[in-house]
């Protein structure tokens, strides 16, 4: 029973959201506002149990982690934003969060964005094997990657004018960027299509008799609803036009 009702609710909401592809309409608005409300309510419940109870209250009371009081205080300082006179106290919490983020990121980004990227580029351009030098496809790729990294970096120079050779290099860099964006776009298409296939698959499943033909019934109802809405809103527009 729960599953049956659930199927109807899930199918209804799915179709409400898809109706947005046609245009903004009352069904989508309903689903959108419901989604915001439910997600907010769910977040409140999760924060209450997972953060407030499990990470703050319990460790403080049963494990004696008294220092969590400081965290709670910093959190409470955020709420001074409701009291205009002492709103500035919330800056302490901002500074705490922002300062932490700024410090933590520096060495980590050097590790993963600088060193790992540079080390991946520092490869020999030729290999020496049995028959002397060899310059194969692998080496050609290494050269191409090197050229790409260098020219794209040229594109990112801000304080020198892009003229002459630098302009040329930056232009090549732009082509590398465009290939990368095109590839990134094409690569993602597959994953996105899988999501759609998954959703449609579910809708097909719920159109069976086991679920009371939920998909079919609800689709028809929504289409009728949209038609009615279109007609009545057209009338409303006409009325305005009349005088």
């Amino acid at each position: 029973m729960e599953g049956f009702l659930g199927a109807w609710v899930a199918v209804g909401l799915t179709l409400f959201i898809y109706s947005f592809l046609y245009k903004d309409n009352p069904f989508f608005k309903l689903a959108e506002h419901l989604y915001v409300g439910v997600s907010m309510g769910y977040t409140i419940v999760r924060i209450y149990y997972d953060t407030m109870v499990k990470s703050l209250y319990q460790p403080m009371v049963s494990e004696g982690k008294w220092w969590l009081v400081i965290a709670a205080l910093l959190g409470l300082l955020m709420l001074t934003r409701f009291i205009p006179k002492i709103t500035w106290l919330s800056r302490w919490s901002f500074a705490f969060v922002v300062g932490f983020g700024s410090g933590v990121v520096i060495p980590r980004i050097i590790s993963s964005y600088i060193l790992q990227q540079v080390q991946g580029t520092l490869l020999p351009l030729a290999s020496v094997g049995e028959g002397g030098f060899r310059f194969g496809l692998a080496q050609l790729n290494t050269v191409l990657i090197l050229v790409g990294v260098v020219t794209v970096l040229f594109y990112f120079f801000f304080s020198i004018e892009h003229r002459g050779a630098i302009r040329g290099a930056a232009r090549v860099g732009i082509y590398f960027l465009m290939i990368s964006f095109g590839a990134g776009f094409g690569y993602t298409v597959m994953a996105r299509m899988s999501l759609l296939i998954g959703r449609i698959d579910d809708l097909l499943l719920y159109s069976s008799s086991d679920y009371g033909y939920a998909t079919i019934v609800l689709s028809i109802l929504i289409i009728l609803g949209l038609l009615y809405w279109e007609r009545s809103s057209r009338k409303a527009v006409k009325k305005v036009d009349m005088p």
Partner: protein, 415 residues
């Protein structure tokens, strides 16, 4: 009888006899040589609860097995804690940079870590020996002792530390330089020139500007960059007297942005025009936020939409809806996976580092422009490293030498 044999046959027989003797004569356990240069010590550059042993195995005998035995007191019972596979070493060796004490390739290292069944306490002595077994024979080294300790600096990360210091120095020198020479050159960034245009258009049309700060919290640098740009945009908005709408996914970011926008209106001398609810919160959840912002776009038809900060899969859901409404769209993000979607749907896109250059570009404050110059110097340095490093790596390959790895290791990531 022997006289009938020639030299070759004699030699063959002699060889055979020798072999038989070697195989036949029963050998004592001592005949198996103990591994050379066995040492045990605290694992360097770590958080403790770990010991390392090294020794020089005889790799010519593959059927020889090496076992570590350990005991908390020298007279007590020694338990076998691990078998060491000597050939697995070559890879592991590269994990330590040369400046943090790398062992040469003929040594085998093994790291013993504290586990559920084997506890290694910091500051306590442990006694270890290495046992070699080959078929039924075995021999062992003398006992060495070592004390696991928690270290205070990870020397493997020294290159990271040096780069950090070097770059910090560069940025500060550049700022000092920019203070003295305030009119530094800055290349054009088309997307940021368009901000002015977007605000102007919004004023003309009497429609709001929608500004999104990305999906990360306040501890993310992308968000910080986005809020700083918001300050500059808010100044223009205040000057033109347009409406600004900033829907938020993170309450902390919302609070910070309220301060920033308020400050911008103050700076422009328009505190009366500031509205507290131009920054508002929707929800923490990714897709309900997206649905709501899409709804805002369709219903309020903003004249311009600015996407700054870090985005996830919602990027295209937002930007394509925005494109459908005909708004001018300017994006700026350093989330490299979402860049393709902004590039294809927005009128202008700030790519990666350009997001961090934006505040300097919009404000033209010497200090900010100075840091940008510092970033450029950093890039020039890394560009040089990439080119020279590749040449060195090639030279190393051609000359069959490992000597350049002393330089190249400086730009490898160690943990």
């Amino acid at each position: 009888m022997l006289s009938g044999l020639n030299t070759r046959q004699t030699l063959a027989i002699a060889f055979l006899v020798l072999w038989v003797t070697i195989l036949w004569v029963p050998r004592s356990a001592d005949a198996l040589p103990a591994p050379l240069d066995f040492e045990a010590f605290d694992t360097p550059n770590d958080g403790g609860e770990s010991l390392t042993i090294v020794f020089r195995p005889d790799l010519s005998v593959p059927e020889r097995h090496y076992f570590i035995y350990m005991s908390p007191d020298p007279g007590g019972e020694f338990r076998q804690v691990a078998e060491v596979i000597p050939t697995a070493h070559a890879k592991a060796n590269r994990r330590t940079p040369w400046w943090a004490g790398r062992w040469s390739a003929d040594f085998t290292l093994y790291q013993i870590r504290s586990t559920d069944t084997l506890a290694l306490e910091n500051g306590r002595s442990y006694f270890l020996k290495l046992v070699v077994k080959e078929q039924k024979e075995s021999s062992e080294t003398e006992i060495h002792s070592a004390v696991p300790r928690a270290n205070l600096f990870n020397f493997s990360l020294l290159n990271n530390f040096l780069l950090m210091s070097l770059f910090t120095g560069t940025v500060f020198l550049s700022i000092a330089y920019a203070r003295k020479n305030p009119n530094l050159f800055l290349r054009r960034i088309a997307g940021l020139d368009a901000v002015e245009e977007a605000v102007g258009r919004a004023t003309e049309m009497g429609k709001p500007i929608l500004y999104l700060t990305g999906s990360d919290g306040m501890d993310s640098l992308s968000t910080i960059a986005a809020t700083v740009i918001l300050g500059e945009v808010a100044k223009k908005v205040a000057r033109y007297d347009t409406t600004l709408k900033v829907p938020h996914r993170d309450p902390v970011v919302m609070a910070v942005c309220q301060e920033i926008v308020k400050e911008a209106y103050l700076a422009m001398g328009r505190p009366d025009a500031y509205k507290e609810d131009s920054n508002f919160f929707i929800t923490l959840d990714q897709f309900s936020y997206t649905a709501a912002v899409d709804g805002i776009m369709l219903r309020e038809r903003p004249a311009a939409i600015l996407y700054m900060g870090f985005y996830y899969a919602e990027s295209l859901l937002l930007a394509e809806t925005g494109a459908g409404t005909g708004a001018i769209q300017i994006a700026g993000t350093d989330s490299d996976t979402q860049l393709p979607f902004f590039v294809t749907t927005c009128d202008y896109t700030l790519i990666g580092e350009e997001l961090y250059a934006a505040s300097a570009y919009l404000s033209r404050e010497p200090v900010l422009v100075g840091t940008l110059r510092g970033q450029d110097l950093g890039k020039a340095f890394l560009l040089g490293v990439v080119v020279l490093g590749t040449l060195l790596a090639t030279a190393g390959q051609v000359l069959q030498t490992d000597v350049f790895s002393y330089v190249l290791d400086l730009f490898r990531d160690f943990k």
